[in-house]
């Protein structure tokens, strides 16, 4: 049996398969379908300092091999999470990691501080890449200066593993990855959704209430793989790769491009057991290729 353990900063994962924030609720939504304890980690829904109702309906438009969403970080706020959701999920036999978002640096810091106090919250994922909120969100992740500033300030109050989730909606994603590494991030996760748009040709109306939204699903996978590969060659911290992963072959592709771990996102909607199937596929692949540990595969593209 191949070794599946990987490390993200000081955080040890039993295996590299995790689920992406915004596609996996708080894990409980999937309890009918899979044993959550099999996963390396679960990134729960984007959480903000104050509750948010999110954007108006319609918030979703299916596109070829993917979907656009403009949910807009609907959540009940960090206090509700700490008081009501965390107690329900803290004893799952996997790492529960909160995705933290905000409109101002003060919001991010206050939210991270509250989460730092939770014993069984070993890490947070700083979301500087949500394309669906008017203020903040992606704005922090598209300039080096603001990405550096928010990472620096959160780093001061959050001593555990700090993962920064990068936006692909930039000219050069490696620049952003470098500055968040310099400011003390333990890992980067990429990519968040691509800013996209769809129009109903009969009514001529945008399909989303917000006009634009975030594109995810297998249609973005080759771009995401390319970005992971670029970032792998730009930083020393581990990468959590994601973007359209549907099966174990996709996951191995992300690992070869330089991901230490991966997140399954939108495909959870189609096959809620896909994360566990992907884990089993990775295990079989490693055995078949006589690879002792998944770590040996990270970034090991054969260019010959």
């Amino acid at each position: 049996m191949a070794g599946l353990k990987v490390n993200i900063g000081e955080l040890e994962l039993k295996n590299p398969v995790m689920t992406a924030s915004g596609t996996f609720g708080y894990g409980t939504e999937y309890a009918d379908f899979i044993d959550l304890g099999r996963l390396g980690g679960i990134f729960v829904k984007g959480t903000t300092l104050e509750p948010r109702q999110g954007n108006d309906y319609p918030r979703m438009a299916e596109t070829s091999s993917g979907m656009l969403n403009s949910v807009g970080l609907q959540n009940k706020g960090v206090d509700y999470f700490v008081d009501h959701l965390y107690p329900k999920i803290k004893d799952y036999d996997t790492h529960m990691i909160v995705n933290v978002s905000g409109s101002t640096i003060e919001d991010y810091v206050a939210c991270a501080e509250k989460l730092a106090d939770l014993d069984k919250m070993p890490a947070i994922e700083l979301n500087i890449s949500c394309p669906n909120v008017k203020e903040g969100g992606m704005a922090f992740g598209t300039s080096c200066q603001s990405a550096a500033e928010v990472t620096r300030e959160v780093r001061k109050v959050f001593p555990k593993t700090l993962i920064v989730k990068l936006s692909p909606n930039v000219t050069d994603i490696t620049e952003i990855a470098r500055v968040v590494e310099d400011e003390g991030a333990d890992a980067v996760s990429l990519v968040n959704t691509f800013l996209g748009m769809a129009i109903d040709v009969e009514s001529r109306r945008p399909k989303l209430s917000t006009i634009t939204g975030g594109l995810s699903g297998p249609c973005i996978k080759p771009i995401a793989v390319r970005m992971v590969w670029q970032v792998y060659h730009a930083v020393r911290i581990p990468i959590i790769g994601m973007g359209g992963i549907c099966n174990w072959q996709d996951a191995i592709e992300f690992i070869l491009a330089g991901s230490t771990a991966i997140q399954v996102g939108t495909y959870n909607f189609v096959d809620p057991a896909s994360s566990v199937k992907i884990l089993e596929g990775i295990e079989a692949y490693l055995d078949r290729h006589h690879i002792a540990s998944v770590n040996e595969l990270v970034g090991q593209i054969n260019y010959l």
């Binding site: 609720g25 939504e29 999937y30 009918d32 379908f33 918030r59 091999s65 189609v270 809620p272």
Partner: protein, 257 residues
């Protein structure tokens, strides 16, 4: 909730756009309890561009035959693929999803109002009501006679009133223009169909002090409360139509505000 493969037992074309699929679990494993108003999510295979599952109402559950009935209206590529499946072929289902219509405890006058393919869940609801000794009545609307689906099945369960926009069957016009709504006093209305129709039905119910439940067809991705895409604005804020619905009492909705 679970995910499993079903075999198509039959696929009957009802009109130019609608098919009735009768399906059973592979291996004929007994069906779990299902309730009227619940839905399934069908995976669309062999169509790489179609990514998401298609949410489809449970039209009827025949426990004797161990069959679920689904009405499929061809709208886009996904539903076209599903409606092209033949007897003997399999499809993958996530089910049963969502809440259900409230079955009343007491006798009274119950009207089930449906439009187009939105009549689907009302057949199963009518069956459940009849089993409880209640007398459901149906008011179904469509563009023309061929759009009023499963008339024979509905007539077996209770009185059927129809409206068509071209007057080819029943009263000419929309369901809310049917004279029975003026002639008879109903205690409870259940409705499913195009949103403008349901809003008109909800307005009639509210004006006449009639309890009313509506089954929504919001666009959805996951179907089990994870993606937060299918939200409906309610008096409690935005809620998922897939888990807190698809059936809502109109008092909870903000349609008439």
């Amino acid at each position: 909730m679970k995910v499993c493969d079903f075999t198509i037992r039959s696929n009957t074309r009802l009109n130019d756009r609608n098919h009735l699929l009768k399906i059973s679990p592979v291996g004929n494993e007994p069906l779990p309890e299902m309730y009227p108003g619940q839905f399934v999510q069908i995976r669309v295979d062999n169509s790489p561009l179609v990514f998401l599952r298609r949410p489809i109402s449970i039209n009827f559950v025949d426990y004797q035959q161990n069959e679920v009935w689904l009405l499929i209206q061809r709208v886009g590529e996904g539903t076209t693929k599903i409606s092209a499946l033949s007897a003997g072929e399999n499809m993958n289902l996530m089910f049963p999803l969502g809440n259900s219509f409230t079955l009343p405890d007491n006798k009274g006058n119950f009207l089930l109002i449906g439009g187009g393919v939105g009549t689907a869940p009302l057949l199963f609801l009518g069956k459940k009501m009849k089993e409880k000794g209640l007398k459901p009545e149906f008011l179904l609307g469509g563009r023309s006679e061929k759009d009023i689906l499963q008339r024979v099945d509905f007539e077996r369960l209770g009185t059927l009133y129809c409206t068509t926009e071209d007057g080819s069957l029943g009263e000419k016009g929309f369901v809310t223009q049917h004279p029975i709504l003026q002639e008879k006093k109903y205690d409870f209305i259940y409705t499913c169909g195009p949103k403008p129709m349901m809003v008109a039905v909800a307005r009639y119910a509210q004006q006449n002090g009639i309890s009313c439940e509506a089954s929504l067809e919001n666009l959805m991705a996951c179907g089990f409360g994870a993606c937060l895409c299918c939200i409906e604005k309610t008096i409690r804020g935005n809620v998922c139509a897939c888990t807190e619905g698809p059936v809502f009492n109109i008092k909870e909705l903000t349609w008439l505000d």
